[in-house]
């Protein structure tokens, strides 16, 4: 089987830069929808991907001359369907007649609602199946639903292209061989399966958020995660999905204020006028909306905590008692020491550094650098400068992020 053209822009080298960029953007936006519909009809992920790639080559040939069709998604679905039939005929697949019939008899309209949308939902549950390793779920989701190319995903995760290609190939093989279903899970399995999907999206977001500085070559994983979570939110009516989207938006909103002069700026010192107010507003709206359903979950609660932070006009006006209350709820649904650490920092704001430190010191997190940062800050406020300095040093040993190191060195040296 011929390999899929991973870099469509290169294939259509005669196309002018701007229109090929526009086409690539359209194709990326439509990729999940088109490939998902083809996978359902063909029952074969590789064939579906190849057919979509063929359609893309045709688009790059025709659109610059004929103009972009009014409904590019429908055009791509139809063209990819025809390309699939061509491939089936050419490759004389054993079940060619059957597959051809499935392709020809499909009259599913290409519309934003209905069965076509269900295809994308089916596909995300297949890509994020718990039988696949987390890193493979991430790769497959970005490839099939995000429409990112293998080299793009490889660069984003700083792994060699061959490694990423192998990851994706192996996952597709497991889906086929182990017969991982292409289906929305039963109501009984939905909560756990959905949380596996959300974990993938949140991981993609954080990968983009934490490594966002000075990496011109990397695709913007945070925007990609937001885009996919937005899609998911239109497909399932679950408050945790809105919660995750809200959490992402409220985090993303602060990105412009997060780094200044190569140095990490902590939340309390950020210039709030740099925050993206449209994202803050949308995030707040989502938080109110999902909390109103009264089925709180970990993402909704984290989003709510971020909403309290972004609600204050300046850091001195933050409602810490509400934040502690939200952390209490979060601990009840997701008990873990990292949540306890964050709660302890909020408790310190409310009841003083001594109370906060006594909680922090009880936690077994010595290999987690934020634990040392929290100790350093609390010890500093208690005037225990030698211990504080030692804690900054320990945190510095455990972090490689340049912006964060610059911030910690600054804090330590100002003692």
């Amino acid at each position: 089987m011929p390999s899929s053209p991973e870099d469509p822009v290169e294939r259509g080298a005669t196309v002018t830069e701007s229109i090929s960029e526009e086409i690539t953007a359209i194709v990326r936006a439509e990729h999940g929808r088109v490939v998902a519909s083809l996978i359902r009809r063909l029952g074969d992920i590789d064939l579906a991907e190849d057919a979509v790639a063929d359609a893309l080559v045709t688009a790059l040939e025709r659109w610059p001359a004929d103009g972009i069709p009014p409904n590019p998604g429908a055009w791509l679905t139809t063209t990819a369907g025809n390309k699939a039939i061509d491939r089936i005929r050419r490759e004389k697949k054993r079940d060619a007649k059957y597959a051809e019939a499935a392709m020809l008899e499909d009259h599913t309209p290409h519309e934003p609602t209905g069965p076509v949308e269900d295809d994308r939902l089916r596909l995300i549950f297949t890509c994020c199946h718990p039988a696949l390793a987390l890193e493979n779920r991430v790769a497959l989701t970005l490839r099939l639903l995000g429409g990112l190319t293998v080299p793009e995903i490889a660069r984003a995760f700083l792994v060699p292209e061959t490694t990423m290609a192998q990851r994706i190939t192996r996952s597709k093989q497991k889906i086929r061989d182990a017969n991982i279903p292409y289906r929305v899970p039963s109501a009984e399995d939905l909560p756990t399966r959905l949380s596996a999907v959300l974990a993938v999206l949140y991981l993609v977001f954080n990968e983009g958020y934490l490594a966002s500085e000075g990496e011109g070559l990397r695709v913007d994983l945070s925007s990609e995660a937001i885009r996919l979570t937005r899609q998911l939110a239109t497909l399932v009516d679950e408050p945790e999905v809105d919660g995750l989207l809200g959490l992402m938006l409220l985090t993303e909103a602060r990105r412009p204020a997060r780094i200044a002069d190569g140095r990490l700026v902590t939340l309390d010192e950020q210039d709030r006028t740099l925050w993206d107010s449209a994202l803050v507003d949308e995030g707040h709206r989502l938080v109110r909306q999902c909390l109103a359903t009264n089925r709180p979950g970990p993402y909704q609660l984290q989003a709510a905590i971020n909403a309290v932070h972004t609600d204050a006009l300046d850091a001195s006006m933050i409602d810490w008692s509400q934040i502690v209350q939200l952390y209490d709820q979060l601990l009840a649904v997701q008990p873990n020491p990292i949540v306890e650490l964050n709660r302890a920092v909020a408790v310190a704001e409310l009841d003083g550094p001594e109370v906060g430190l006594s909680i922090v010191d009880r936690l077994d997190l010595a290999s987690y650098h934020p634990w040392h940062v929290a100790r350093a800050e609390l010890l500093r406020r208690l005037g225990r400068y030698d211990e504080s300095r030692a804690a900054y040093d320990r945190a510095l040993e455990l972090t490689a992020n340049e912006a964060e190191r610059a911030h910690l060195v600054g804090r330590r040296d100002s003692l």
Partner: protein, 117 residues
């Protein structure tokens, strides 16, 4: 429909079940097997004797070379297995969950190439 192998792998010489738990797991596994036969997922199943009973035969060069097994000397060895038929991996995983609860060990599930038998 896909056929799957469900393998029970455990440390034979350091059993993690007490004598009573073992008896209970036999009882539960029998009941589970009856259920599996009733639901049409059953193809075959069996428990194996101790890995030291294994014999390795190499007939690749014409003559048969026979050695005392097992083939790979590792702590964890196959203890028994099922071959089942299921609609897809989700159904197989549900069966595997029940199998694991019955035999009181984790089970590893792997698809067969094509149809068995």
């Amino acid at each position: 429909m896909t056929h799957y192998l469900m393998a029970v792998i455990h440390d034979w010489d350091h059993p993690d079940l007490s004598e009573e738990e073992q008896q209970e797991s036999f009882r539960l596994t029998d009941a589970f097997n009856t259920e599996l036969q009733g639901s049409g997922h059953w193809v075959f199943a069996g428990g194996l004797t101790h890995p030291s009973d294994a014999t390795v035969v190499d007939g690749r060069k014409g003559a048969s070379i026979v050695t005392d097994g097992p083939y790979v000397e590792v702590k964890e060895q196959l203890g028994g297995f099922w071959v089942i038929e299921a609609a897809d991996l989700d159904e197989a995983l549900d069966i595997a969950r029940r199998a694991s609860a019955a035999c009181m060990h984790p089970v590893e599930i792997r698809p067969f190439q094509g149809v068995v038998g």
